[in-house]
Amino acid sequence: MNRNPKIRDYISERVEGMSFEEIYSKYVDAVYRFLKFKLGDEHLVEDVLQETFLAVYENLQKMKEVSSHKAWILTIAHHKFVDHLRKKRLVEVELSEGMEADPAPDCLFIHQLLGQLDETARTILYGLYVEQLTCSELAEILGIPVGTVKSKAHAARSILQNKLREESV
């Protein structure tokens, strides 16, 4: 039996019918993918992933108040990503280089396509097509109005449509 109260809470505390371990198992893949997409480097992803889930654990009670658990956890991951950028003083150019440094061969084309877009538009398309998030959820994650998400998504689609058309010619 574990005598440490923090560990007892860690194991037994349940929010919305789920223990922290169950929450971790359910969302770790989505957070990993999101951070891998944003950061590229596997070591950085691992560190920021850990920071994200530690913050989730520390704010577990807030999970009761949110409408979408996935969006809430990805919002924390996005904040941790931004914190990381601030700490490292990375500029967007370096980020893009990191993203395209070593994508898997089957991801190469989509990385090249997304390279035409700004960081926010890339994240919006990623959220819509990979994580199946709604525009409201993306607005919450990025901290921008829903209208901006919709207009950026629309503009990004037009750019990708032209690129795909050029590719097929």
Binding site: I7, Y32, E46, Q50, Y57, C107, L125
Partner: protein, 118 residues
């Protein structure tokens, strides 16, 4: 219906997020509206292109991070001390030495956690 609404409806249909009534609307649009059909085809292409990005976290990484979170909850002081050392070394070691040190440190941490859990 605006083109933006068409995109949203088409994507929701392909991601199976529609009610029966909304699906009926999509089927009607496919038959009657050539522009909607083009939008639907484009959304299907984008979904296919994005599919390789939907990867799972490697099992080793999942376990390592979970063990480190458990350790952080169990002994926060040890983790803070480790992070301070981590940032000092990162700031002072030459980049090439850091590249060697980091994987080595991770192996040591994983070994310590295994010993702790035994």
């Amino acid at each position: 219906m605006t083109r933006q609404e068409m995109y949203e409806l088409a994507l929701a249909y392909l991601q199976k997020r529609l009610t029966t009534e909304e699906k009926a609307k999509v089927f009607r649009l496919i038959e009657e509206n050539a522009e909607f059909f083009q939008v639907l085809a484009f959304e299907a292409t984008l979904l296919r292109r994005f599919a390789p990005l939907k990867t799972a976290a490697p099992a080793g990484l999942r376990e390592r991070v979970q063990e480190r979170i458990t350790a952080a909850v169990q002994n926060p002081g040890k983790v803070i001390a480790g992070q301070v050392i981590h940032y000092i070394l990162k700031g002072t070691l030459p980049q090439i030495a850091w590249a060697v040190y980091q994987p080595w440190q991770r192996r040591i941490c994983a070994y310590e956690q295994q010993c702790d859990s035994r």
